[in-house]
């Protein structure tokens, strides 16, 4: 009997050791590629964790979705511009909601000891069943398995065996319909429809007509989408409230300042499409969220009505903002951060200003000059970046012939980009080249090593700001990265803004 017990114990120990070893091998060699495919945001979080001071968690509202935007800088990038000494890590993904943010927050480990502020976007649309039962849900449920803070090998095994909620399209539709039908509407005045489903149904038979008396189908659809997106009461019982509560609890436990940034909605359009009843619901949900979390000691930035209609990209109510809109939001969030940490900020609280010239290059749309160095070897975003070395020392070049109204004004050139290198070298530089009206040229090189320690084998954000004096008669400004060393420097997502100093900043 005793021998049997010893034998069984030895077997159990051997199995446990085997599993631990396997978990180590998986975590070390295979997990990153699984995360890249199924939970890329967690991989981003791991990459950013050690250096970040501010973590910004966002959804599609963080990025631009329009090819016509003058800049594709994300809100988190724009916040970073205001805090050059800090690392503002922006992690965003289309369709993310509080449940996904909670998992990311749960994955913050001791490497994130420098994290001071956590900004979590609150997008009202993510609370709606229409948003929950969308095409992303199966993929998100799959991600959640891998993101759960458990031994990665166990997560992989559960993923292999399909241990997550999977719905077919038909099932999702059925659940959505059930949710819309069970969403009872309460107004302080008599209202025609008892549920969101009934309201949607009523409006779908709508009354929108064009000038020639035809049905305006587009408008009806937009109104129905709005009702399904915003026609609900967010209450204590909502699943996402539990998720937000958990985020608040984790932040409190770890001593991280938590900011819930309630994202702007196109209230004018909601009012025009559906009317004051839906505006009332949006407003009451805003009040619920702000009161609930302010009482819990969380900073809630109410930006619901921050933007005007022309600062939204599309003609139906959602949270896709133009660069002007994103700048305003970033400014609002940065102002809050600057109030909290004024000694760290390069931020002027009062002015809010658009750059006079703004351009970005991600390696994907070749609209800059000097594209010899483009490479598909690696990229920070998209497929390509610029690979600079002895053979091709110049990156694609930003060139701006200054308009006459800027020629005699003091300017600030702000450039930011992402760099990647396997070895550091003193010849890694960002160059600002100024051509003067009299035909002279001056070059201003900014060695990256002097900007701070170069991190190897990872994409690193670089930020350089350079004043251009009003009296110098500059007519053309060029910005590019340079490296003539044998070791390669990769450069991607180069963004340049030229701002007029006299009007602010």
């Amino acid at each position: 009997m005793q021998r049997r017990i010893i034998k069984s114990t030895l077997y159990a120990l051997a199995i446990a050791c085997g599993l631990i070893a396997l978990n180590f091998i998986y975590t070390r060699y295979l997990w990153p590629s699984d995360l890249e495919k199924y939970a890329p945001t967690l991989l981003e979080l791991h990459a950013e964790m050690e250096d970040m001071t501010v973590l910004y968690l966002g959804d599609c509202s963080d990025q631009t979705i329009s090819g016509n935007d003058s800049s594709d800088l994300a809100i988190s990038d724009l916040i970073q511009q205001q805090f050059p000494k800090w690392e503002v890590a922006g992690i965003s993904h289309n369709g993310y909601h509080a449940g996904m943010y909670r998992l990311l927050v749960e994955n913050l480990d001791e490497r994130a000891r420098g994290l001071q502020t956590l900004v979590v976007t609150l997008n009202l649309r993510t609370f709606s069943p229409y948003s929950i039962w969308n095409d992303y849900q199966n993929a998100f449920n799959q991600s959640q398995v891998l993101m759960n803070p458990r031994p990665p090998l166990l997560n992989r095994a559960l993923l292999n065996m399909g241990w997550y909620d999977r719905s077919t399209k038909a099932e999702s539709q059925e659940r959505l319909q059930e949710a819309l039908e069970s969403e009872e509407l309460h107004f302080p005045y008599p209202f025609e429809y008892a549920t969101t489903a009934a309201w949607n149904e009523g409006v779908s038979k709508g009354s929108y007509r064009t000038a020639d008396g035809q049905w305006d189908q587009q408008r009806i659809e937009a109104a129905c989408y709005s009702i399904k997106d915003f026609g609900l009461h967010v209450t204590d019982q909502h699943a996402l409230i539990a998720e937000l509560d958990q985020i608040a609890a984790i932040a409190q436990q770890r001593g991280i300042r938590l900011v819930f940034a309630l994202m702007p909605e196109n209230m004018e359009l909601i009012d025009a499409l559906v009317g004051p009843d839906l505006v009332f619901l949006v407003d009451s949900n805003r009040n619920y969220l702000t009161h609930r979390y302010r009482e819990m000691g969380v900073t809630v930035l109410d930006q619901l009505e921050l933007l005007t209609s022309d600062e939204f990209i599309e003609d139906n109510p959602n949270e896709h903002y133009t660069i002007e809109g994103r700048r305003k939001i970033a400014h609002r969030i940065a102002r809050d951060l600057a109030t909290e940490y004024p000694w760290e900020s390069s931020f002027d609280v009062t002015p809010e200003q658009k750059p006079a010239v703004s351009s970005g290059f991600s390696g994907e749309g070749p609209f800059w000059t000097n594209l010899n160095a483009l490479s598909e070897e690696r990229a920070h975003s998209g497929k390509r970046s610029a690979k600079l070395n002895k053979v091709n020392p110049f990156s694609p070049t930003f060139t701006s012939e200054l308009p006459a109204n800027l020629a005699d004004q003091p300017l600030q050139v702000e450039a930011q980009f992402f760099s990647y290198a396997e070895q550091s070298h003193e010849s890694f530089k960002l160059v600002i080249e100024l051509e003067y009206a009299d035909g002279n040229t001056s070059w201003h090189g900014f060695p990256l090593e002097q900007q701070g320690e170069i991190m190897l084998n990872t994409w690193q954000r670089q930020y350089i700001s350079f004043p251009v004096n009003a009296e110098t008669g500059v007519s053309v400004i060029k910005v590019y990265a340079f490296n003539d060393a044998p070791t390669s420097l990769f450069v991607d997502d180069l963004e340049v803004d030229i701002k007029v100093v006299s009007t602010g900043l």
């Binding site: 085997g18 396997l22 091998i25 998986y26 295979l30 590629s33 699984d34 495919k37 199924y38 199966n138 799959q142 090998l153 992989r156 095994a157 559960l158 993923l159 292999n160 065996m161 399909g162 241990w163 999977r166 077919t168 399209k169 038909a170």
Partner: protein, 463 residues
């Protein structure tokens, strides 16, 4: 409830434990209940339909008594109802436009209807031939029809093989449990590591075949044959292993099909229970009657048999083409038997290898019908394969993950057909403990670390 999911493995585990713990007299009823619940889990009315079909078949079976006039009507009537029912549901897939969407198929087509309908027809036909006694117990018959390890995608079990096993249930045998677990493990490996890794590759390539190099497309056509085999035989292994956990032996559907040297040999090794069903209940009776027309009669019988095999997969033109292509090659093989034998004697091993390669290529080409939807699309894919000048190299299109998938797919058939001789559990049981232990650990590691992650259904579940 996919066989490679945690809910199924939990369901199976609990059922097995309870089955062996309860008194023997309740076991059949318990298994029947489990089977009905298993079907109802997918949709409650699927189980009602299954029960209705089973009861109809049971009652008809009781009333069929050879030599009586009414008996013939019972046979013809019940078989007609069964076939119309099956055809109706298969048509409804087309009608609902669900033929391209597995999710939709699983809503429209009752789980396992093709398999249990063929079982029912087989039972009724055997009854009409008087080669099988009428089953007297509804419970046993319902268990034969609904036994959950085989309901999803077969094997199409004969009543003569299964019903006797329900009369004298096997006693608990730990060796049986061990062997069944090994078979399930190997089935999981085939499905999760081979088929599920290949599935996204195949889907990616066949979504836009014009955009991949011809060489990669050709390789993908070969790989999809391996995927179909790994998927279906993986399912079958899990089904057979699950059944053996309860002490039931089901008929194997495969016998190393890629060792077949010609297409008739292939059909003796691939989806054996279907081809045997068609042989016994379509081809043999037809060819017997058509023999008076000479070779033409035999060929027509053969064509008709393969048309049945084709449309059994679905009432669609593509499956008809699939059947016709196989039927045509079989007729050709029948006509060339003499000189093929002469070549075999003259060329020896080289002829065998050529036959093996040709059969594999032919099968790979015809399984393309599982992934293409029209003759034009099928032709385009094949034409695209010929355009080798367009491509530079395959290597540029493949990632490290793809190479790993290729490694698994490339080593799988030699190991399965060669080393294991198509049966992992028998190989393990005949090996020494160290070899067996290493093999099991390797298999577990592969399943844990290298399984495909996407939710891929069993291909034959939709047929």
């Amino acid at each position: 409830m996919n066989f490679d999911s945690i809910p199924y493995l939990l369901f199976l585990g609990v059922s097995v434990v309870v089955y062996w713990l309860i008194p023997e007299k309740w076991r059949k009823q318990f298994l029947m209940l489990c089977s009905v619940l298993f079907v109802a889990y997918h949709h409650w009315w699927f189980s009602l339909l299954l029960i209705a079909v089973s009861l109809l078949t049971f009652e008809a079976g009781m009333r069929i008594s050879p030599g009586q006039r009414a008996s013939r009507w019972w046979y013809v009537g019940s078989v007609a109802i069964l076939i119309l029912l099956l055809a109706g549901f298969k048509w409804s897939v087309q009608w609902a436009g669900a033929d391209t969407d597995f999710d939709q198929i699983s809503w429209v087509l009752p789980l396992g209807i093709s398999y249990y309908t063929f079982q029912a027809v087989s039972y009724l036909t055997e009854r009409s031939w008087n080669t099988l006694p009428a089953e007297q117990s509804r419970t046993r018959f319902l268990l034969y029809m609904s036994f959950f390890p085989k309901i999803t995608a077969g094997p199409i079990e004969r009543a003569g093989d299964f019903l006797p096993q329900t009369q004298t249930l096997q006693a608990f045998n730990i060796q049986n449990i061990y062997s069944a677990s090994l078979q399930i493990l190997w089935g999981l490996f085939k499905k999760m590591v081979i088929a599920d890794r290949l599935a996204p590759w195949i889907e990616h390539v066949f979504t836009a075949p014009g955009e991949v190099p011809g060489s990669l497309l050709t390789l993908s056509i070969l790989l999809q044959a391996i995927q179909v085999y790994a998927n279906f035989s993986g399912y079958t292994d899990i089904a057979l292993g699950s059944a053996r956990l309860f002490g039931f032996e089901l008929t194997d559907n495969f016998n190393r099909p890629f060792l077949a040297q010609n297409i008739s040999d292939f059909w003796r090794r691939w989806h054996i229970t279907l081809s045997k069903w068609v042989l016994d209940y379509i081809y043999t009776p037809l060819s017997f009657r058509a023999a008076r027309f000479g070779k033409t009669g035999i060929y027509l019988s053969l064509f008709l048999s393969f048309i049945v095999i084709g449309i059994w997969h679905g009432i669609e033109m593509r499956y008809l083409y699939f059947g016709l292509m196989h039927g045509t090659l079989l007729v050709l093989e029948m006509n060339t038997r003499k000189w093929r034998m002469w070549l075999e004697t003259s060329l020896g091993r080289a002829w065998s290898v050529a036959g093996l390669v040709f059969t594999f290529l032919f099968f790979s080409m015809t399984t393309l019908w599982f992934f293409t939807f029209s003759l034009e699309e099928f032709g385009n894919v094949l034409m695209q394969c010929m355009r080798w000048d367009q491509n530079t190299s395959i290597s540029g299109s493949l990632s490290n993950e793809d190479y790993l998938t290729l490694f698994f797919a490339g080593t799988f058939i030699p190991i399965d057909h060669g080393l294991f001789k198509g049966s992992f559990h028998r190989w393990v049981q005949s090996s020494n403990r160290l070899t067996a232990g290493i093999a099991i650990i390797c298999l577990l590691i592969c399943i844990l670390l290298f399984s495909g992650v996407e939710d891929i259904p069993f291909i034959y579940e939709r047929f």
